[in-house]
Amino acid sequence: MVLEVKNLQTHFFTPKGLVKAVDKVSFSLEPGKVLGLVGESGCGKSMTGLSLLGLVDPPGKIVAGEILLGGRNLLNLGESDLERIRGKEIAMIFQDPLSSLNPILTIGRQITETILSHTSMTKGQAWEQGITWLRRLGLPHPEKRMKYYPFQLSGGMRQRVMIATALALQPQVLIADEPTTALDLTIQAQIIEEIKLLQRENASAIIFITHDLGVVAELADQVAVMYAGSLVEYGEVEQIFDHPRHPYTQALLNSRMKLGEKKARFIPGLPPNLLNLPSNQCAFAPRCPKASQPCWKKKPSLIPVSTNQQAACHLLESQGRSKENAVVGA
């Protein structure tokens, strides 16, 4: 296990009240595996990624939990230790590459800077290393491109630069926050193929944050579905696609537009406002077609529903309990 997150809670103490952006989230990741973290905007998936890197700004704060990276709890480390780990052992790619690259530095300078700050390479070696990574990510003429400024590159190329920068140090864990959402389908397909290839070669573990279940189907080994700050379903990708157990997962899978569809299906209503969200009911209950009495009385917690699959739904509890003994590793 390269990364283990236990009971992570990131809360925002806003003037208007408490926002539980990440509420008791637990998952684990093996080397070389991809975890797809899915949910609607505002469900806390990006905040989970930022929490892992210790990048939560006030009024937000990680109030409880453990983030175990190779056995060490990141939450017990000081800022200087974190800085050494960030980038080298755990790195993040953001959705918008234009705002995460420095517009007045060449991309070569930005890649080498990252490499130099974590290794004892010389400048020349770091430059070569940068070129190698850009080439591996399929950027044409990497020698020339190293001298370009971000504005001279297209969106797809910039995203490749971001991925190259993140991968150049071969981190054990890579968090990719919607890296293909702003790109064309054809470029998205290229980048997905490249990530697949790199992940096979490097055995990096990847957390892929997205709202696109198609991308999850392409890449992920495991899926964690998030709703209103909590995980509502967690399991192996095939199981989630074949037998989604939580009504929200089912609704998400159903609402994908497919070619040839005559009817647009969607989840009625809106995701809840996380501000002062009542903690004594299921957050999905107001939109759930199957909501019943117990859903309004108590927030369900994740229970095993089959081997390697958990869901948080009261409707599954009666079934879950009878199976619990048979489930290994629950």
Binding site: E40, G155, G156, L185, A217, E218, M257, L259, G260, A264
Partner: protein
């Protein structure tokens, strides 16, 4: 008579200011595009970013002036039309923006946002504004409670609905939606598509729906034009898109769609190499085309085929 007709519309931009006679590059953003749109019909425009779909929308809205060609709306050429005709044209053709956040003045309340076009199109009828606003908000599925909200207090989906309500003030015949659902969540995209479909049926609207989301375009549009490098490479009906698409570019767009189940992830892909670039000679697509032959580098293919299915490709037509 078609509602809107484009005849060989072209828009060229010059790149690099030619100081002291320096050579300028011509970028053919939209090149000899011809299209027909009948009343109540919807057209989907698909293609990668930079293929000229948004420029085409700007030309139709007359926000840009084409270098060549004619744009004919209900029998009248709007490029040479007098002011009065243009006034009514702009009433009948409206736009819904992609980024609903920057589309509104952040200091205006919903009520004021809606009042602006009302004052413009119905001057002196102040008493009826509130009633009209409420009707329109209801039509797009917004509650009257939000009348005094600022745009930032609305969710992304609600803002997009407000954008549609504002566009509907002038009772347009044609609504141009430029990536109108691209920034929304999957669950909301379905809601918006359903709304677009409802409005089409209720108001007899025509749409020009610009998107790179093929399933969404295919859901809403009666016919679909695929653009590459400023040219239309294929026009086909929504039914034909799935089974009868012919142009190598259309096929590769279809192929780039993510799989719907993890079991299919290892299928072979036609993966397009490189980024949208277009050649100055011959077929725009030939540098990336898996089927390109000699003739493709030399001659520019023309749209040809049956009435409702046109393809511009040398390989297909021979």
């Amino acid at each position: 008579m078609p509602l809107l007709e484009l005849r060989e519309v072209s828009k060229y931009y010059l790149q690099g200011q030619g100081l002291f006679g320096r050579k300028k590059d011509v970028i053919r953003a939209v090149d000899k595009v011809s299209l027909n749109l009948n009343e109540g019909e919807s057209l989907g425009l698909v293609g990668e970013s930079g293929c000229g779909k948004s420029t085409l929308a700007k030309l139709i809205l007359k926000l840009e002036r084409p270098n060549k060609g004619q744009i004919i709306f209900r029998g009248q050429d709007i490029l040479s039309a007098p002011w009065g005709v243009l006034y009514s044209y702009r009433r009948q053709v409206q736009l819904v923006f992609q980024d609903s956040f920057s589309a509104f003045n952040p200091r205006m309340r919903v009520r004021e946002i809606m009042n602006e076009p009302l004052e413009n199109f119905y001057p002196g009828q102040k008493d009826s504004y509130l009633k009209q606003t409420c009707e329109l908000l209801e039509l797009v599925g917004l509650h009257q409670n939000c009348l005094d909200n600022y745009p930032h207090e609305l969710s992304g989906g609600q803002r997009q609905r407000l954008g549609i309500a504002r566009a509907l003030v002038s009772q347009p015949k044609l609504l141009i939606c430029d990536e109108a659902i691209a920034n929304l969540d999957v669950s909301l995209q379905g809601q918006m598509l359903t709304l677009f479909q409802e409005l089409k049926e209720k108001l007899g609207l025509s749409y020009i729906f610009i998107s790179h989301n093929l399933p969404a375009v295919q859901y809403l549009a009666d016919k679909i034009a695929v653009m590459y490098g400023g040219k239309i490479v294929e026009i086909l009906t929504r039914e034909q898109l799935i089974k009868e698409a012919k142009h190598p570019y259309t096929l590769s767009l279809l192929d780039a769609l993510p799989v719907s189940h993890p079991r299919e992830r290892n299928r072979k892909r036609l993966l397009l190499k490189g980024e949208a670039c277009c050649s100055a000679h011959g077929c725009r697509f030939h540098p990336r085309c898996p089927e390109a032959q000699e003739i493709c580098c030399r001659d520019e293919p023309l749209l040809s085929g049956e009435k409702d299915h046109l393809v511009a490709c040398h390989i297909i037509s021979t």
